[in-house]
Amino acid sequence: MNTDDHVIEVTDLRRVYGGGFEAVRGISFAVGRGELFALLGTNGAGKTSTVEVLEGLARPASGSVRVLGHDPYAERHHVRPRIGVMLQEGGFPAELTVTEAVRMWSGCTSGSRPAGEALELVGLAKRSGVRIKQLSGGEKRRLDLALALLGRPEVLFLDEPTTGLDAEGRAETWELVRALRASGTTVLLTTHYLEEAESLADRLAIMHEGQLAVSGTPAEVTALQPSQISFELPDGYHLGDLPPLDALGVSSHDVAGRKVKLRTKELQQAATRLLLWAQDAGVELRGLDVRSASLEEAFLQIARDVKEEARQKEKVA
């Protein structure tokens, strides 16, 4: 195995909690050096359960996980000095000041940056003398990020790094993550903000109910989904009055009252033909909305598909 190619390798990972709940159900993926990989999913999809195994906080029930070529749980001492971790929910003693917390962490981190530099990176330098209990939720996330960056890690695990940040804070964090990636840091990020994954990730995977539903570049994942055209049927018209949907290149459709939603993989062709028809017929398509597939649509569709599959399986059984 060449660790220069794959900094993170996950093979058939399963994680089962004490009560028997199977949070991660056999997932595999790999992250290359310098890549930014986003793990997307709804709450409870198993993202954090997966990342905790990668961080070496928990052992897999089965399957294997390698980080920088090592088992992150059994060989923690090899892995930890080279990774940085930001937990979804990590704590700091409320009565320490920001600087005291960074100094403490610095004493426990090989190759640590100076405390001031780390705080500068995340925009907390002005708050260095403040007790942690007086920080806002967003500022605590920034402090957490500063500690994750303290050892100039080769691999950075960010579990929902922007949850609780305002729009400005989120933009600043994105900028910082982009800069880290540009300097060669491998980043594994979990998020439930789709635009975050879309704008930052080289590759992403969508997780649902403990499984990876799909993975690829944002463009690849999006391209799996059809685009959409929606509008209201003009008064006196029925669906059958439209040109044949097959001829438009429409793969499926919904009708709710007078509202029509068409799905197509050939958006330009379908939209052009529909609009030409409307022009010839001299009708107005009210509420016309034409949109390419988005990650959001892909995401919702995957959630629906997985549910449908499960239902089919139950029927068969």
Binding site: E55, L57, H77, G91, M104, C108, T109, G111, S112, R152
Partner: protein, 265 residues
């Protein structure tokens, strides 16, 4: 290993360096918690004085012990129970519930370093108090100079290590800092009465005394007192050390088995 990212500057950490960094932060926190300061600093130094009021000279004489060694045992015992055991049970629970332990576990600190580093200030305060108590007793209640100081020192150290481990065990069975104050009571009560801290074991019937000698804190107190008076035979000293070590082993096993690093979901 060569990467575009890692132009590491600071030194590689050592176990001692990590312990010092964590211990320093904990000391800062201890200094900022008034409640902790009272429990850790004042109570153990004041309580022995109240014990002095209840001990009767004739009872002590009958049991063959002096006021000086009784006060020493009380002072050392209370330092272990309040400054180390009770304080640390609270601290371990508080750090777990505010997710500090979980965050620490993502770094280079090993599990035992997290517990040891967190315990460092309390353990040091415990040691300092034992020294203060010893000098105080020599100055105020005619405690003679120690005959076998090494046994006393060994007793203090074994006792403090055991208290740290038992605090971690107790923390494992306490959900909140408030409930930790209750769940630490049984050991404190039993130790005060049955481990020779307030009542010398010599006043109990022989059979009961030999059972009480097996309690967790008993061997430490026995070593402290016996080391001071020089009354312990090598055989007795060895027995006390063996009992203390056995308790440490049991407690460390219990910590490994039951200690939780994050709150229950």
């Amino acid at each position: 290993m060569s990467t575009a990212t890692a132009t590491t500057t600071g030194p590689t950490t050592t176990s001692a360096g990590r312990l010092a960094a964590l211990g320093r932060a904990e000391l800062t926190l201890l200094g900022r918690s008034k409640g902790m300061l009272v429990t850790a600093l004042i109570v153990p130094l004041l309580l022995p004085l109240s014990v002095a009021q209840t001990l009767k000279e004739d009872m002590l004489a009958k049991a063959g012990v002096t006021m000086g060694t009784s006060m020493l045992a009380a002072g050392v015992g209370f330092a272990m129970l309040f400054a180390v055991y009770s304080a640390l049970t609270n601290i371990f629970v508080a750090r777990r519930e505010e997710l500090v332990l979980k965050r620490l576990r993502t770094g280079e600190l090993r599990d035992r370093e997290i517990l040891a580093g967190t315990a460092l200030p309390a353990a040091l305060i415990g040691v300092v108090q034992c020294v203060v108590v010893a000098f105080g007793c020599m100055a105020m209640v005619d405690l003679e100079a120690p005959k076998a100081l090494h046994l006393t020192v060994l007793g203090v150290l074994l006792g403090i290590v055991l208290m740290v481990a038992l605090a971690a065990v107790t923390a494992a069975f306490s959900r909140t800092a408030e409930s930790a104050q209750v769940s630490s009571l049984p050991l404190m009560f039993v130790s005060m009465i049955g481990s020779g801290m307030t009542v010398p074991l010599e006043v109990f019937p022989d059979k009961l005394a030999s059972v009480l000698e097996l309690l967790p804190a008993s061997p430490a107190i026995r070593l402290v007192r016996g080391g001071w008076t020089g009354d312990l035979t090598a055989y007795e000293a060895l027995g006390a050390v063996a009992t203390a070590v056995a308790w440490v082993v049991i407690a460390v096993f219990a910590v490994q088995r039951w200690f939780r690093w994050e709150p229950r979901h």
